[in-house]
Symmetry: C2
Subunit: 339 residues, 2 copies
């Protein structure tokens, strides 16, 4: 099934079941918010599935047209947002561009950072940017929402705890990152609020594309209407979601509603290199920084600018029939200094 | 007023108003959880204050005895836990002990990390420890809970948004920290669930001790019944809570219920040095690591061991009359591998 949190003037929105084609929505009275459903998932899943079945069969009154613009993030605020870097190719490129060596351990010990989760952006919310010099970038990723996962869970146990899957725009302020990481405590100011896809879906909605705790479909990013990247999220993912969740549980329990991200999706090309831009026939990139790194490696300097007010980012994933699975993240950068 | 979340079998517990002496509690029916009250604070504060007045005057039926053991953390789970390092003395000592230089910028640009907040420990909950080789330590700190704070708030505006104050045991796994920080993305596995004091209090409860967005009282830590530290939380705090919150809002809004920590409280001695143990007449330390650093600086090696199963940590703050303000964090380390 597909779930969305629609605007209702409250912080958590109203939980709705959405049909497969993303055209109609049905509110869930018994579990008014997605967090409430996750807190009591065994019971909630049965009820939500019943609503989904009735919605599919046209057996329910009270459905309403579904529009992405009415959506908050599926979890408008969450108790945890931990983002991995499972596409180690992306990390290797970052290091290569700045002439630094990547530790060998990155291939077997996942990188993960604790992100802010008190207030996410909805899929069509503007990206507020106070200072274009901060180097605003998008990062297209896949993320999962977990149930309760006990400390020391195995990857197999962790995979069983995956409740929902969604897309993320992990907005990043590139020019704030070097100074912040040099301080040694990880990201904070350089990672403002992330945005999520209109709907979150259960694993069974993905069919064969969900295999081995990875989502094997191209993740499409458009910048100002032009395709910027189409890397396959199932390829070059060195740590699957079960491994990422297990990493997060090494020293503590994870509570229901924890969101675990894949990190920026990134593919190597057939020769093991960093690939090419879409305009050169390649799969392109799921963030501007990666294209800039490839430009730096090739030409000594980046050419593609970071985001500025007015720029539009669209992130989406289509199924085998060309239909949008999660709806689109579709955001415009706005000058928040003048707001 | 003083607020607590009492165990009721649910994840968020039941919000109660507690009297100043920490003897009686009264449930709040209109705002069943502390997060619900923070979401709608203007209205909630009026109602909670009325309950507090009635509790003080003995005008209410239905009060129950208050016991710290019945408490969850005031916010048993939160949408944000961001911990500063405002006592730069602590950071300078860490660096000195390992022969590293501390950047000058640490004196004017706050260090802050994003912590996990999906499941906190209650004040009397055991500290689960799977492997004593991880180097388990306590860190005694002060923390505040904020209302909504807009992006770019000034320290003065941020100070106005402080709703509640409480104590924290920021449990740390010291031997996991160097490897994790070397990866560049900050703490994750090295910071398991933190514990909080039985009650959170409004600033007006603190009288003159709350001044300049700092809490000017000694923070007492006991290890296995022996006083380990009594540094004054109002001294050597280089960044007050207004500055810490403002730092957190540089690139994003903070939502109501965000918890901002002070970092480990740490005082210099009169000569500007790292002070002495309590047993040597000093103020001691608010974590084991700091005492070990001083031992290393003085004797070339640490002597005090980290926590092992069975060890007991108590963190408390007394008012001028010797009464406990927040109740005590009182935890025993347990072997979670055998659980």
């Amino acid at each position: 099934m597909k779930l969305a949190s629609l605007r209702n003037g409250r912080r958590d929105g109203a939980l709705h079941v959405v049909d497969r084609d993303l055209t109609r929505a049905l509110p869930c009275q018994a579990f008014p918010t997605l967090q409430a459903a996750l807190d009591d998932w065994d019971e909630a899943a049965i009820m939500l599935q019943r609503l989904a079945d009735e919605l599919r069969d046209g057996r329910r009154e009270g459905t309403l047209p579904f529009r992405a613009e009415d959506c908050l993030a599926p979890l408008p605020r969450a108790y945890q947002w931990a983002d991995g870097s499972a596409y180690v190719n992306h990390v290797a490129l970052v290091r290569q561009a700045r002439g630094a060596e990547m530790p060998e351990s990155f291939w077997y010990d996942p990188l993960m950072y604790q992100g802010g989760s008190d207030r996410f952006l909805g899929p069509c919310d503007p990206i507020p940017l106070k200072d274009p010099d901060w180097g605003c970038d998008f990062e297209a990723e896949v993320a999962v929402v977990t149930g309760d996962v006990p400390m020391g869970a195995t990857p197999a146990e962790a995979t069983e705890a995956i409740r929902l899957i969604m897309l993320v725009n992990d907005v990043s302020l590139r020019n704030l990152i070097p100074g912040e990481l040099a301080k040694g405590f990880g990201f904070f100011q350089s990672k403002p609020a992330s945005a999520f896809s209109p709907v979150a879906v259960t694993p069974d909605e993905l069919g064969a594309a969900w295999a081995g705790a990875k989502l094997a479909l191209p993740l499409l990013s458009h910048l100002n209407g032009t395709l910027f990247g189409r890397p396959d999220a199932g390829q070059d993912m060195i740590f699957d979601f079960g491994q990422l969740i297990a990493h997060a549980t090494k020293t503590r329990d994870l509570a229901a509603g924890s969101i675990i991200g894949s990190g920026t999706v990134s593919n190597r090309d057939a020769e093991g290199g960093p690939g090419r831009k879409v305009s050169e026939g390649g799969r392109g990139y799921a963030c501007i920084a990666e294209q800039r790194m490839v430009e730096t490696i090739r030409n000594g300097a980046p050419a593609t600018p970071f985001l500025k007010p007015g720029d539009r980012v669209r992130i989406e994933m289509l199924d085998g029939a060309g239909k949008s699975i999660f709806g689109a993240i579709d955001q415009v950068v706005t000058d928040s200094a003048s707001a």
